[in-house]
């Protein structure tokens, strides 16, 4: 078997195992949480009998392992159960939310990734000169400020004072793409500012590292221009570390947007999760956790596989 296929198969298998382990952790974590759903639903005045009845109805009387496997097999078949608080099917309510979160993450990534890589290349081209220092200072400053603060500041100045963008980013299915994009302009800006620094610094560092190599000198001595040297000879050898940090940030855009969604009242997974954590709606929390874990592990697996494919020694063994 070609070694690359073998390595990719290994990554797939490992990721599946990891996701399984994550599902155990999520289930165990939510199970040992203090508090009782039945009590929450029925309130303080509930009688012991009604509590016991409700627990039985919810399947809480069965042993944890049984409940775990029921949950897992359900999840594998696309059934994440029903929300305790409103009795609705979780997959139905989650589907729209997940779509919205991915929509926001996608547009944030479309802006942030090329911008970060471009700024990284620019910083290399003008390293140790003012453009490099300015780029680093601005991106590092923006990552150092908490995202909710950036969110509120942008909301106040751009949304309220200037009136350029709506302060509430609620979107509906009936909106056109343009309207949706207008609505999410501010959260996309905030997310871009949060993830830009990592990716830009990593691109800069990875390419600068490669620029020390003897083959860069060879390229320069061929009479190539600075940009040709960076793009043709340095960048292909810097892909692996850059892809890794890009994927980590994409994962963050999906699973880490809770705060931003809440600040901008955006109907995504984050808000949904926060609402149901407050109500101790365990199946919803579990479902969200599982989806977040799957996204995280999936994107990291993609990063690993791209790194493997970017290595000519693995692609073309002796």
């Amino acid at each position: 078997m070609h070694p690359v296929l073998k390595l990719v198969a290994q990554r797939l298998a490992l990721s599946t195992l990891l996701l399984l382990a994550a599902s155990v952790l999520i289930f165990a974590g939510t199970t040992i949480l203090p508090g009782d759903v039945a009590q929450n639903i029925l309130g303080q005045s509930a009688t012991p009998e009604s509590l016991a009845n409700l627990r039985k109805e919810l399947g809480m009387d069965q042993p944890a392992t049984t409940r775990y496997f029921n949950w897992l097999f359900g999840a594998l078949q696309g059934d994440l159960g029903t929300a305790l608080t409103n009795g609705r099917d979780i997959v139905d309510s989650l589907g729209g939310r997940l779509k919205n979160t991915l929509f926001l993450a996608f547009w944030a990534a479309v802006v942030a990734v090329p911008l970060a890589i471009f700024l990284g290349l620019l910083a290399v081209r003008y390293r140790e000169r003012w453009p490099d220092k300015l780029i680093s200072a601005v991106t590092l400053a923006s990552i150092s400020v908490p995202e909710f603060l950036i969110g509120y500041v942008l909301m106040y100045y751009i949304g309220v004072q200037l009136g350029w963008a709506p302060t509430v980013s609620t979107i509906y299915d009936s909106m056109s793409l343009g309207e949706k994009l207008g609505a999410i302009a501010l959260p996309v800006t905030v997310l871009t500012m949060v993830v830009l620094a990592h990716m830009m610094r990593m691109t800069r560092a990875a390419i600068l590292n490669v620029m020390q190599s003897a083959y860069i000198e060879t390229a320069e001595l061929k009479g190539l221009t600075s940009f040709q040297v960076i793009a043709r000879h340095a960048f292909p050898n810097a892909i692996a570390p850059v892809v890794n940090v890009v994927m980590l940030n994409l994962a963050y855009l999906v699973v880490g947007v809770v705060v931003v969604e809440v600040v901008f009242v955006y109907p995504g997974m984050g808000q949904y999760l926060v609402d149901h954590v407050a109500k101790r709606d365990v199946p919803v929390v579990q479902a969200c956790g599982l989806i977040f874990a799957a996204v995280y592990i999936g994107l990291n697996m993609v990063a690993d596989i791209v790194s493997i494919l970017a290595n000519p020694r693995l692609r073309h063994p002796k």
């Binding site: 060879t218 001595l221 061929k222 009479g223 000519p312």
Partner: protein, 545 residues
């Protein structure tokens, strides 16, 4: 203004250095060097590290490596002064009129691109040839340089060919755009001697056939004598002597050149083996963890007290692996290590502190074998504390004794490794090994990273110390000249086996086995015409077979 291909006048080169803990300052690397080169001629630039050879070579492309800057003088290529021209015109010069072959082809080829793409890149970029023409020319060069499967080798990635082949590909890369001048910067230094001959001959033929002129930079006078018409000797940025190859080799005028020509002067008569070897390697077979092939097969050798056993071979022959087995870093699959009348445990954990003390090691890279944040005194003092529990005045006295033994003054005690020269660093490593009062020191390529004259000094020191301390050396090297200078007995290794073993006089006397013969005849000799003789006699031999 000149019909010469290359004319360098009063070239001055400086660099900005950043010493740790000090303000950056400018230093001069080359102080006013002048020379000329005609079309089709080869000029050898020779000198030790820091002589400014590579810097001068790159200056002929108006290129400064890192913080290096050309601070004065003039350089003409094809009658055009190039130091004053702008970057755009320089880019037209680089890669077409003047090209460069570096020391390490392995590092100078982009690992992510195919060889062909890189070989023809400059020609395409400068619009010299169409893609088809350039590829045809590359294949022609691959053939001329004796590369296997010249039609298809360009489709491979750099890691898919051997070091010697890649070095020839680098030469093809430099010759492809039909340059007027090629700068060869130590093109064979990183290769094994047996590979060096082929590459050297390929380069020499290619230079002759294409009529290109060349600057050939190396620290090895014997190598440069084979390929160049003229030689310029450099030392610390100054020209020492410039003459025809014949004159420099046979009638050097300057004392420094005479030193260079006569450098392997140390001769050492081998001592006969004793009855009680201090170290015996017995039938050792070993493999690395996670692999399924043996890298050592039935290796057997003996080292006698106060003597030197040289282990020679090419890279990958198993020399260093033998050292790893002896030190316990790699437990053998079969076989035993006897040391001073007792069996040594095969793994490191099973060895006593005395076992460790009596078997010390010195490495090739003195730089990385020392903690850069410790002073020389701390470095040498550590084994004194660890093995003998020495403290205070007693320890200091011993450190000073050791410094004296390695011919360094007491003022070095408070210096840091970064403040020492390469030779001094290696001396400190020797002192650290001696501090443990060992019976055996394993020296792993300890002179390979040093300039010839400095290396010679280290060998003399090791020999003196052997007389004083009666310590035995297991001397691992790929350099046969070093072996002749220092060994009492020799083990020649090839592909994990000892192919020839015995007292020096026997090993180095005919009849030879095939491999030892190849190895011995591959060592460059400092006389004109040696390369052709060797290649000719090999051709006749293979025709005879």
């Amino acid at each position: 203004m000149s019909d010469k291909l290359l004319k360098v006048e009063n070239l001055k080169i400086g660099a900005r250095i950043y010493p740790p803990g000090e303000k950056p300052r400018n230093i001069d690397i080359v102080h006013g060097v002048s020379f000329e080169l005609e079309k089709g001629k080869v000029l050898g630039l020779i000198g030790e590290s820091g002589a400014g050879k590579s810097t001068i070579g790159l200056a002929s492309m108006a290129y400064g490596r890192g913080g290096v800057e050309i601070t004065g003088g003039k350089v003409w290529v094809n009658g055009r002064e190039i130091l004053g021209t702008n970057l755009k015109d320089l880019r037209k010069l680089r890669g077409t009129e003047v090209t460069y072959v570096s020391q390490s082809a392995a590092a100078s080829f982009n690992p992510a691109k195919k060889i062909m793409e890189q070989v023809i890149e400059a020609s395409l970029h400068q619009g010299k040839f169409s893609k088809k023409e350039a590829e045809a020319r590359a294949v022609e060069l691959f053939t001329k340089l004796g590369l296997p499967d010249p039609e298809n080798i360009g489709d491979r990635y750099p890691h898919q060919v051997s070091g010697g082949q890649l070095q020839r590909c680098m030469t093809a890369l430099a010759l492809c755009p039909e340059p007027d001048l090629v700068v060869f910067d130590e093109p064979t230094t990183a290769l094994d001697v047996t590979t060096q001959i082929d590459v050297l001959m390929a380069i020499k033929d290619a230079i002759r056939d294409t009529g290109v002129a060349a600057l050939y930079i190396t620290h090895d006078l014997a190598v440069v004598a084979q390929v160049s018409d003229e030689i310029m000797v450099l030392r610390m940025g100054d020209m020492v002597e410039h003459g025809t190859t014949d004159q420099i080799i046979n009638n050097p005028v300057e004392e420094y050149t005479r030193d260079l020509v006569s450098v392997r002067s140390t001769q050492h008569d081998g001592k006969p083996p004793t009855d009680n070897p201090v170290l015996t390697v017995e039938n050792v077979t070993a493999r690395y963890k996670g692999t399924n092939f043996d890298v050592l097969h039935n290796v057997t050798m003996e080292l006698h007290p106060g003597q030197t056993l040289a282990v020679v071979g090419e890279s990958g022959s198993g020399k260093s692996t033998t050292a790893r087995v002896i030190t316990g870093l790699l437990p053998p699959r079969e076989g035993k290590i006897h040391f001073d009348g007792r069996d040594l445990s095969s793994d490191l954990e099973g060895r006593s502190r005395d076992d460790l003390r009596e078997l010390q090691m010195i490495y090739q890279m003195a730089d990385v074998a020392m903690n850069p944040r410790q002073t020389v005194g701390t470095i040498i003092g550590r084994p004194l504390e660890f093995y003998f529990g020495m403290r205070g005045a007693e320890k200091k006295k011993r450190i000073l004794e050791l410094l004296e033994e390695i011919e360094m003054g007491p003022e070095f005690m408070d210096r840091y490794p970064a403040e020492l020269s390469g030779g001094q660093k290696q001396r400190v490593c020797i002192a650290r090994a001696l501090a443990a009062k060992p019976k055996v020191i394993i020296c792993d390529e300890v002179t390979s990273a040093l300039d010839p004259l400095v290396a010679d000094g280290i060998l003399k020191l090791l020999e003196n110390l052997q007389k004083i301390e009666n310590v035995a050396y297991l001397f691992i090297t790929h350099d046969l000249a070093t072996v002749k200078a220092i060994a009492d007995s020799i083990a020649v290794m090839y592909q994990g086996r000892v192919v020839r073993y015995g007292p020096k006089a026997e090993v180095l006397a005919p009849p030879f086995d095939d491999y030892t013969d190849l190895l011995l005849s591959s060592v460059p000799e400092m006389r004109l015409g040696w390369l052709e003789e060797v290649v000719q006699s090999r051709k006749m031999e293979s025709a005879g077979n």
